[in-house]
Amino acid sequence: MFFRRAGISHTRYRDERQIWPLPIDRYTVFLIAALLLAAPFLIDRLYVVSYLLPLIIWSTAALGLNLLMGGAGQIHLGYGAVIGIGAYSSVHMLRAGVPFELAMIGGGLAAAAIGSIFGAVAMRVKGLYLAMATLAMQYIVDFVIIQFPAISGGTQASLPVPPTSFLGFPVEGDRVPYYVALVICGIVTLFMLNVRRTAFGRALAAVREKDYAAAIIGVDPFRFKLLAFWVSSFIGGLTGAVLSVCYYRTIAPEQFHLDLSIQLVAMVIVGGLGSVLGVFFGVALILFAPILLNQAVALLADQFGMNLPMDLRAHLPLMLYGGLIMGFLLIEPLGLAKIRNNIRNYFLVWPFRHSRQ
């Protein structure tokens, strides 16, 4: 572990430009991928369905948001609505008999279309105003979904997902939904890892740093901001389809409210803006911290007789989200990814503290 850079000297530029230049990193990634593939056979189904599956789906969504917030520097407080658009349009397509593979892409396209319309509105403004515009989008989309029974699914305002299949496998039980989500997440992750090394990714970075400066060097900020909105909304819509088919099975408007948007923003910030690995850390922390906290509270009640009032217990997750967002912004604005990097860099050259990276 400590000497994993020893003896590795890249002699070609190609080698150094690899996503994971160090062999040990590649092996770790392969190991994690293999473990994820084997997970349904290794661990209890309860853990797969209620912990691993949400982790994967939420990570896919947060990756899409991270492209916009970390990659292009555009704030988005309405990403839950984008996911909702994808979920509703794909479920309606499924109910009309469209195969799942196409409905997924259709959901992504619908979300991308509507998301970019709001993006285009938001392009006139930035920073602060963009936050307001996307917040307004969240409320407007919520309103439309709830007010039109044709969309939300009648009086109960819930829409069951019809049985469907993905590439010939029926999406039912515990394992197939997990693998569908894993495949989509894998594709999106690979895309995100590579996008930063393309002209598109570099243009986004230029726009993020300063859009006027980007315009001066010939990168059209409007075009690339809009593209960023498009791509990230597409991924959001795709995730919406996966979320509704593989996880929720029955969708209702309140699953895509502002709470989801805030949760996703918290994930991206806690994980680290612009970092792919960080997103997974952030999602894990935001998803599991409330569960751990609740268990800790229950343990306190059991062992020491410290009964917290119901209201307090119900509001602990909100406090935790808010506290985590504030804490990370104040103490480590680059999030868990930066903390992990610091530790990694420390050990890469350990025990020589001042060696060059």
Binding site: M69, G73, I75, L77, F118, V121, A122, R124, V125, G127, L128, Y129, A131, M132, A133, L135, A136, M137, Q138, Y139, I140, F143, I146, Q147, K210, Y212, A213, I216, I262, V265, A266, I269, P309, D311, L312, A314, H315, L316, P317, L318, M319, L320, Y321, G322, G323, L324, I325, M326, L329, L330, P333
Partner: protein, 296 residues
């Protein structure tokens, strides 16, 4: 649709709009001094209302005329404390980070206060009789009438504040912080006082709203209305807030009265969002805001 009903909707809308405008005025106050839009303004109003409830009926049992000023003092300290502990450390960070920080604060407060003091709706009685008031044939709620009046007075007072010596200091700070420093203005103190004043204003609006609908977490939803008003009026104009408040209040009340029977309810919450989007499309800096000029 008869004239009386329309007039009634209009009068109620105007006064409700003025009450919204008070929340927005606190936002403008902070934006004018430090250039930060405070997304926690709704949560601050909620916090203020909770503090009043705790000081008055549920907790210490102070009479309401003592509880409200005391709560305003407490909230002044809270606001200035937030600025000192959180916002000041973010100076120089990109605006997206600062916005996210205030959003984090909003979420935190929305969890903390209902969590600690109980999530059930708390009654806040500030001595306004419940009996409605008849102006000629118009039926107007007393709480809204008094709330609108108090809000109007406070907003006018803050216009006066901006023309006082301290107001000029604040305007100088918002114009250029470094230049203000060089002429001997204590920039940090000006910003801290702006936060404190804004939190105290939020407390009054929290009390006024709490008197009409009870105190619970939903008071923090005032944020979206206040945002709509602040954006429509221009983020750095108090006069704009006053006029935009009336516009938003009227639009909302008309939408509830006229559109709701047609589409089946719920338009009240979406009006503010539509106003935000339309404003950003047509005139991003608002009716009275200064156009933003940026240097590369």
């Amino acid at each position: 649709m008869d004239v009386i009903l329309l007039l009634e909707l209009a009068v109620n809308g105007i006064f409700v709009g003025l009450m919204y405008a008070l929340v927005a005025a606190g936002m403008v106050l902070i934006y004018k001094t430090s250039g930060i839009a405070n997304l926690a303004q709704g949560a601050l109003a909620m916090t203020g209302a909770y503090v009043v409830v705790m000081l008055a009926s549920a907790g210490l049992g102070l009479p309401i005329w003592a509880a409200v000023p005391l709560a305003m003092v407490v909230m002044f300290a809270v606001g200035a404390g937030i600025e000192r502990l959180a916002l000041r450390r973010m100076i120089g960070q990109p605006v997206i980070m600062v916005i996210m920080l205030t959003l984090g604060l909003e979420i935190f407060l929305r969890g903390l206060l209902p969590g600690v003091f109980g999530a059930s709706v708390k009654r806040l009685d500030i001595g306004i009789p419940n009996a409605p008031l008849f102006l000629g044939e118009l039926l107007v709620s007393r709480a809204i009438l008094i709330g609108g009046g108090v809000s109007l007075a406070l907003i006018l007072l803050s216009i006066l504040l901006f023309n006082s010596r301290f107001g000029i200091i604040m305007r100088a700070v918002s114009d250029n912080q470094t230049a203000s420093w060089s002429v001997g203005i204590r920039v940090e103190r000006a910003i801290a006082v702006a936060w404190g004043l804004s939190a105290a204003m939020a407390t009054t609006s929290g009390v006024l709203w709490g008197a009409t609908q009870g105190v619970d977490w939903s008071l923090s939803l005032l944020l979206i209305k206040a945002l709509a008003i602040a954006i429509l009026g221009g983020l750095d104009s108090i006069v704009g807030v006053l006029i935009a408040g009336v516009v938003v209040g009227l639009a909302e009340s008309m939408a509830t009265g006229i559109l709701d029977p047609i589409v089946g309810g719920g338009t009240r919450d979406v009006v503010a969002s539509v106003i935000i989007v339309v404003t950003l499309l047509v005139r991003p800096h608002g009716l009275f805001g200064r156009e933003h000029i940026e240097r590369v």
